[in-house]
């Protein structure tokens, strides 16, 4: 706790601090999308035939789909033909075996972000599968994980090494044609992470992937697949920052989680992509499909997210509570300031008996930021004694921002219970004055009040991540008041 607060004090300058571009030679396809591009991606990655077929099938269906427009978001139409669909750091051609072989420029990039691999390796005991421009270039701790029987590798590797698992689970939670962006992802995804926790294994460390979008005009299409067998446990951290640039960048990731009987998956995200300048120019468009299935009885999936970046956020991490007594959780902090827009929330599908879900959503809007919570709680007919509690709080800073709440509740079982609580509050002059009268600067007061508001969500994050989240929140709200 204290370390976290200390970090806050160290924050000095305003602006987007992770804004820099690393010069690494990349092998990039020219912009444009058609079947040949998909074949090329697949060939470049030397994928098994079934993956190519799967991609093409997604692509053909995608051609018939239309971009969704129901979200509370306003942005110019994305020209998908102007995006390059593949880029790989050159140094990945002969994949590095250790950090020594990693491009030093890349390592410096991580250092600038305050996440040096070396240090993490030693101090935090976190294995890092670093996804840099779509291709994994550094993986640590693989061996220790292997001893526990845990598979933690890039999804491309998994296709070669564990084709049966990929065949069985890829697209099993988010089908290829689930939605426009998920279908696009299925067609062109370049890499991502695969995690497999065998029966009864408690993953010995927190698994972490840092994503960075680094190639000009390159949409990033990541896919993450996590399978937790009976009675296993895994905590997965996903964090990302991006260099500053001018063009809008599309990001359409897909994450699938599968929890078998008594298994637990904890998925935490800190998202800090470039939000664009004061007018929104240059920010990342973040269209993400995340879904987990609690397949077995008593399984448990929790999503925790801290979304401070991106110009546009469209994201609804969801849980399908199939197994009896299974539990789904969603804890979210979403910040929208300057011209940022966020439409985010969750879906909880209660199918099994006595399934429980908890939703805690904290939206913070400042400047002209627009923040929408959109959530669905559905109690299916068979969801005997299903329970949901939703708490949806909005905090406004200034008088030009907006907070919107769109809760959808569908109850098909008379014994199910659904509760929804919502509040909207404003950081008041009174609160700021009270802090300042005690000697606390206005900036520190704002981050203190905001952190207080987000406490329930931060409490769900693993320690190192909570530190980063507080730091990000403080940075992203610098200068929001006064």
């Amino acid at each position: 706790m204290e370390a976290a607060e200390k970090q806050l004090e160290e924050l000095a300058s305003a602006g987007y601090q992770a804004g820099f571009v690393t010069e690494i030679e990349s092998e990039t396809l020219p912009p444009g999308l058609d079947e040949s591009v998909i074949r090329l991606i697949s060939a470049r990655k030397n994928e098994p035939e079934f993956v190519l077929e799967w991609r093409l099938e997604a692509y053909r269906k995608w051609l018939e789909m239309i971009e969704p427009n129901w979200a509370h978001l306003h942005y110019p139409k994305i020209d998908l033909q102007s995006i390059s669909y593949f880029s790989a750091p050159k140094s990945a051609a002969d994949a590095p075996q250790s950090l020594d072989e990693v491009d030093p420029e890349l390592l410096r990039t991580y250092e600038k972000l305050g996440i040096p691999l070396e240090e993490q390796k030693m101090l935090a005991g976190v294995a890092v599968d670093a996804v840099f421009d779509s291709v994994s270039v550094a993986t640590t701790f693989r061996k220790q994980l292997a001893e526990a029987g845990v598979i933690f590798c890039s999804i491309s590797e998994a296709m070669h090494d564990y084709p049966e698992l990929i065949k069985q689970y890829l697209g099993s939670v988010v089908p290829q044609t689930d939605n426009y962006f998920a279908a696009l992802n299925a067609a062109v995804f370049t890499d991502g992470t695969f995690v497999y926790i065998p029966e009864g294994v408690r993953c010995p460390m927190e698994l972490s992937t840092y994503f960075r979008i680094n190639e000009r005009n390159t949409g990033q299409f990541e896919r993450t697949l996590i399978v937790a067998e009976k009675g296993s446990y895994v905590s997965y951290l996903e964090g990302c920052t991006a260099p500053q640039r001018d063009e809008n960048q599309l990001h359409a990731a897909v994450v699938e989680l599968i929890a078998k009987e008594d298994a637990q998956i904890k998925y935490s995200t800190v998202q800090n992509w470039y939000p664009g300048d004061a007018t929104g120019k240059g920010g990342i468009y973040n269209f993400v499909t995340k879904r987990g299935v609690c397949e077995g009885d008593r399984s448990h999936i929790s999503w925790t997210q801290v979304e401070t970046g991106s110009a546009i956020t469209w994201k609804y991490p969801s849980c399908i509570l199939k197994g009896d007594d299974s539990v789904g959780e969603f804890y979210s902090v979403a910040v929208a300031r300057s011209a940022q827009q966020a439409d985010t929330g969750t879906k909880m599908y209660h199918i099994g008996e006595n399934t429980r879900s908890t939703i805690v959503s904290k939206g913070i809007s400042a400047d002209r930021g627009q923040n929408a919570y959109r959530g669905l709680v559905r109690m299916n007919k068979g969801a005997e004694q299903g329970r949901n509690h939703t708490q949806c709080d909005s905090l406004l800073i200034g008088d030009k921002c907006g907070a919107h709440t769109f809760p959808y509740i569908e109850v098909g079982n008379p014994t199910a219970k659904v509760e929804h609580e919502a509040t909207t509050s404003k950081i008041g002059e009174d609160q700021l004055f009270y802090c300042r009268q005690r000697g606390i600067s206005e900036e520190d007061a704002v981050s203190m009040i905001v952190n207080g508001f987000c406490k329930e969500v931060f409490n769900e994050l693993p320690m190192e991540f909570a530190v980063e989240a507080r730091k990000l929140l403080a940075i992203s709200l610098e200068g929001a008041v006064g």
């Binding site: 706790m1 607060e5 002059e429 004055f433 005690r438 000697g439 606390i440 952190n451 508001f453 329930e456």
Partner: protein, 251 residues
């Protein structure tokens, strides 16, 4: 002289509330300011603490030989000005201990003193609680959130004892307190009396002054101090009401 207010005029929302207020306070003195509703009591405390929606039109405030009005609210706090709020503000989710540690360290840092780590701070705050006869449960809660009126005021006194101000302004600290809470708060204040600390006790009622004995009593009316005296003035007021002084003034 610790504090010297000269011919202070201040507005809120364009309306003149303080109309030429004069006040001098020496080191270690306890001054009470009494006055009817709307006389400018609250405005005075807020102007001294630096609340920005109050506009100073003319006059001066000198504190420790410096121009107080030039300082931001946090600078004033760092220089030893403390205000116990009439209505303390809730900060949901902000842990009270963390809040107080941050405040103390901000003040210490500004004074060039070493910041306290959590262990040192806990030791200090536990000692303060003991001195003030207060319960440790205050530490675990969110700042003022769900506090009773008495708890809020006690929390203010706790902060005052922690920050060890040179000038403590008690803005109607007695409002909304029952007699037991009033006594606890007054005991706290009395504990904190010292030759190094001046106090400005702002109150509507005389009853607080039964517990906190002031060196001087001033009557504020119509934005000016119209009468000053020793503590017997408070008793006279209690007996005759504010109307009595106003009549005398008019005569």
């Amino acid at each position: 002289m610790l504090l010297s207010v000269k011919d202070l005029h201040a507005n809120i929302n364009g309306e003149e509330i303080l109309k030429g207020l004069n006040l001098d306070m020496g080191k270690g003195e306890v001054h009470a300011i009494m006055g009817p509703n709307g006389s400018g009591k609250s405005t005075l405390s807020k102007v001294l603490a630096g609340r920005e929606d109050y506009e100073v039109m003319s006059g001066s405030v000198t504190y420790k030989d410096e121009d107080l009005l030039e300082m931001s609210p946090e600078e004033r706090a760092q220089q030893g000005v403390f205000m116990a709020f009439q209505y303390p503000v809730e900060l949901p989710g902000v842990n009270n201990t963390y809040f107080m540690q941050t405040a103390l360290n901000s003040v210490r840092k500004a004074r060039g003193e070493e910041e306290l780590n959590s262990l040192e701070f806990m030791k200090l705050i536990r000692g303060k609680l003991k001195e003030l006869n207060m319960d440790e449960s205050l530490l675990k809660r969110s700042v003022n959130t769900g506090f009773s009126g008495g708890e809020m005021k006690r929390n203010e006194i706790l902060q005052m004892s922690l920050l060890e101000p040179s000038l403590a302004i008690l803005d109607e600290t007695d409002s909304g307190l029952d007699i037991d809470a009033l006594r606890i708060v007054a005991d706290g204040v009395n504990n904190l009396r010292s030759p190094e600390r001046s106090m400005l006790v702002i109150t509507h009622y005389q009853r607080l002054l039964d517990y906190i004995q002031p060196d001087y009593v001033h009557v504020l009316s119509g934005g000016k101090i119209i009468r000053s005296g020793d503590k017997s003035l408070a008793l006279e007021l209690e007996e005759h009401g504010y109307g009595w002084i106003k009549e005398q003034e008019a005569a």
